[in-house]
Amino acid sequence: MPAVSKGDGMRGLAVFISDIRNCKSKEAEIKRINKELANIRSKFKGDKALDGYSKKKYVCKLLFIFLLGHDIDFGHMEAVNLLSSNKYTEKQIGYLFISVLVNSNSELIRLINNAIKNDLASRNPTFMCLALHCIANVGSREMGEAFAADIPRILVAGDSMDSVKQSAALCLLRLYKASPDLVPMGEWTARVVHLLNDQHMGVVTAAVSLITCLCKKNPDDFKTCISLAVSRLSRVGTPSSSLGRQELGHGHHPSWFARRAGHSARCVPFISPEDAAVKGRLVECLETVLNKAQEPPKSKKVQHSNAKNAILFETISLIIHYDSEPNLLVRACNQLGQFLQHRETNLRYLALESMCTLASSEFSHEAVKTHIDTVINALKTERDVSVRQRAADLLYAMCDRSNAKQIVSEMLRYLETADYAIREEIVLKVAILAEKYAVDYSWYVDTILNLIRIAGDYVSEEVWYRVLQIVTNRDDVQGYAAKTVFEVRAPLEGVSGRGQWSLAPLTPTPAHSPPVQFSLLHSKFHLCSVATRALLLSTYIKFINLFPETKATIQAVLRAGSQLRNADVELQQRAVEYLTLSSVASTDVLATVLEEMPPFPERESSILAKLKRKKGPGAGSALDDGRRDPSSNDINGGVEPTPSTVSTPSPSADLLGLRAAPPPAAPPASAGAGNLLVDVFDGPAAQPSLGPTPEEAFLSELEPPAPESPMALLADPAPAADPGPEDIGPPIPEADELLNKFVCKNNGVLFENQLLQIGVKSEFRQNLGRMYLFYGNKTSVQFQNFSPTVVHPGDLQTHILSGPLAVQTKRVAAQVDGGAQVQQVLNIECLRDFLTPPLLSVRFRYGGAPQALTLKLPVTINKFFQPTEMAAQDFFQRWKQLSLPQQEAQKIFKANHPMDAEVTKAKLLGFGSALLDNVDPNPENFVGAGIIQTKALQVGCLLRLEPNAQAQMYRLTLRTSKEPVSRHLCELLAQQF
């Protein structure tokens, strides 16, 4: 913990936060908060005028209460008052409150705007920045109206400080995004473009963000920025130039800028003939980036490569955006190919995603296709559902006539085990690919039927209608389709069954006699839903037309009371009408009425439309349109690329009874998956009703309505089988006891049960340690998937950036034979002082049953003790130096073991400190000294142990330079006697 307080010393606030944290229950917390609210309210209302400091403190408390999730309905006025304080800290808190808790109370907005206006005019850069931050944070229309005209002036004023310019640029950007009409374009725009040449990297970055957004809407005003951006980019891109070095030297990240500049270039329509030179330079830059990405990394840190790869991915999207440089596109594809098998999941995900867009370019499509095996493998083996989804997307994008069979069959295979969340989408994709690239109809029909067999519940109506359309339009398919359907339909039920019933009668199948067909159909009738039964009735009347010999049987069915008096109006009506039709009409009339359906007019596949709806506007269509093979001879005679036409059943479709079918309900399984997740992951702090409720349209401005898509698909990418956020379980109950055995010794048996024995041997020197763990299989059966892992549990005190201990482990063999022992070496480095030991989690399969065990690794802070010898005089001098009450920890406790001086000595030495003789006036007492070595700091420790043989008690006193260390050592050691 840092020695210096960075808090601004609002003691009352710290006490209040401590109180809240100490509350044992939600009720206690609410009670404490209400008490505080009452207190603050009375202070604000009181007769005595509050000083600035108190006002600031109370406003800060209110803010904290709000951030805990409680509503705040007062204090705004006091916060506004703070704005006009001339003390920076009060002003700052005031602004923070306003930006977090603003409401559009018009009275207050006027006051706030006044205060902001004053600060903007103050010419004090820190005040100006605060005001600009506030405008940017609130970003409301009222603020836009008040300041949109002023900010450009501040931005381009010659005497504005860099920090003010930065804030002004981004502030303006925010206002422009919120209400573009309020920001007038003017002569300032030309001057903003020149900020790209600014010396200060932060100004450039902020300006690029602003320009990127502005030039999307006003390309003409910002034409000049392209060449500036490109030249700036080329200077950053080539580190040999002095500017590049200079920028790196200042600790700036060129990546921010590089990506921004690239971004802005992407937003401006490119006019190639005029700007050939500029374009040439840009291509050069892009090549440089690609080359640099190939260089071996200078540092192994993930962060470093993140920055580098971010530039690479940004470059690739720029290359894709121009889509005119075949060489670059192919190179980009090859470089992405290397990432497909990278060990970082993040990079695999991004590579799959970027490649998806590359696949849509005619130049790189072939190059993408070469990675098909890797992608298929990813689909099968990736552990993360979001990555698998990317792989499925990419397969879809790279599919063409040459590889359709392979891709479709792989996707079908994947569908059998796919996550519920993405099944429906995969079904749609398979259906589209099968249709688009079918070479023969039997393959198409087989594929679709397979699809239904594997994922019946997820095959939506659209897929069905589409199959019907296609089969209806093709005489030659009908025979095959009907026959296949007839053969496989017996095991099929549910939604998917519906289409089958209507398919069957399209063509007589020679293999089976009509009565047999009919009885097969009818045998399932009572199991079907109302909609399906309606379709069936239509089918029956067609049977009568085609096969007069079935007429009597069918009329009997129609006449049955369960049909004629059916509770469902639709069924009843059909039964009555068909019965009458069949008895009244002559054969000719019947034949005319039930004439074979005319082919469907050509129009966009309804499935494609559905996929686009699911993907949001534009996402699907770009892919599909770009990739269409013009010479392709689709089954359906080519799909019209008109995204706006959403197919509706044509009037003729009613003959098949399509109209009668109700809109499909959301697949029950995906809705169920959401609920399941709620149950499983309902953490202690989580609210009970976390499931997505579709009726509350939030983020509605951002999202086009997609009423039919099941919520769970978008909201819950995590598979339902997840065990929880942590990979490892809590330590076993006796873990603390086991740990205590190792406080004063380094070797021994850490754990033993009937299956497994874990032995430990360790040595420590300064802040480093090496530990050997021996895992012994006590059974005669092989352990499988044996995997011991070490993790450091994060808690409130854990430093965020890195844990206090760096533990390197080597993998051990996944199999441990019966009676055998495997050894694992751990290299441990202590970076800072710590209180909780790392956890050792051991998992394996024994006779098929998974076993899991979590222990505390015997690494305690005292292992990093370095004994220090010193004379009595030195000892007492240091003892006195550590005299602050919090530097000392003391414990008086009863002896748990016989009080033997030699054993005690051995324990203290084992604990790690030096034992100092002739220091304490009482020879019975023990005195020790040592230094705890960590990488970050050293902690000097002095200890004194006073045994009282008569009372069978000890008194243990520790003094160290760090309070938590004193307490922790005292606790550890006290348990040893």
Binding site: L67, Y88, R383, D384, G794
Partner: protein
């Protein structure tokens, strides 16, 4: 960037920053949903997920999750870098930052974020400059603070 959330492994929200106008109700709903989604993911899964029409980028540091929502054209790796940069800033400022620092000095965490990101865009790319700005503010602060407080509280951080 549309918003940034910091929450603990137990699902407690530690900091929220919204760069798009949303009602309190919507904010609460988004937070609930995202916290739940992110906490349900396993450690080795990738840091990105599609959520509604946004991309979520998150990373866990010790007990804290940092979670950002970005738009379609934004770069995921840059966002990870932004998160890391913010953590580094907190770390530098507090000196080995831990969750408690952020709980007790939430206003500082906000100030640092405001210096670093503005309106969802990176404002200052240099760590040094951000910290300089914050330290200057602290200096301004202490001049006034000392009038109210004895130095016993400043200069020694209580272990809670």
């Amino acid at each position: 960037m549309q918003f940034m959330l910091l929450f603990s492994r137990q699902g407690k929200l530690r900091l929220q920053k919204w760069y798009v106008p949303l009602s309190d109700k919507e904010k609460k709903k988004i937070t609930r949903e995202l916290v739940q989604t992110v906490l349900a993911r396993k450690p080795k899964m990738c840091s990105f997920l599609e959520w509604r029409d946004l991309k979520i980028v998150y990373k866990r540091y010790a007990s804290l999750y940092f979670c950002c929502a970005i738009e379609d054209q934004d770069n995921e790796l840059i966002t990870l870098e932004i998160i890391h940069r913010y953590v580094e800033l907190l770390d530098k400022y507090f000196g080995s930052v831990c969750e408690l620092d952020i709980i007790f000095n939430f206003e500082k965490a906000y100030f640092i974020l405001d210096e670093f990101l503005l309106g969802g865009e990176v404002q200052e790319t240099s760590k040094k400059n951000v910290l300089k700005a914050i330290e200057q503010a602290d200096l301004l602060q202490e001049k006034t603070e000392t009038m109210y407080h004895s130095k016993s509280f400043i200069g020694f951080k209580k272990a809670y």
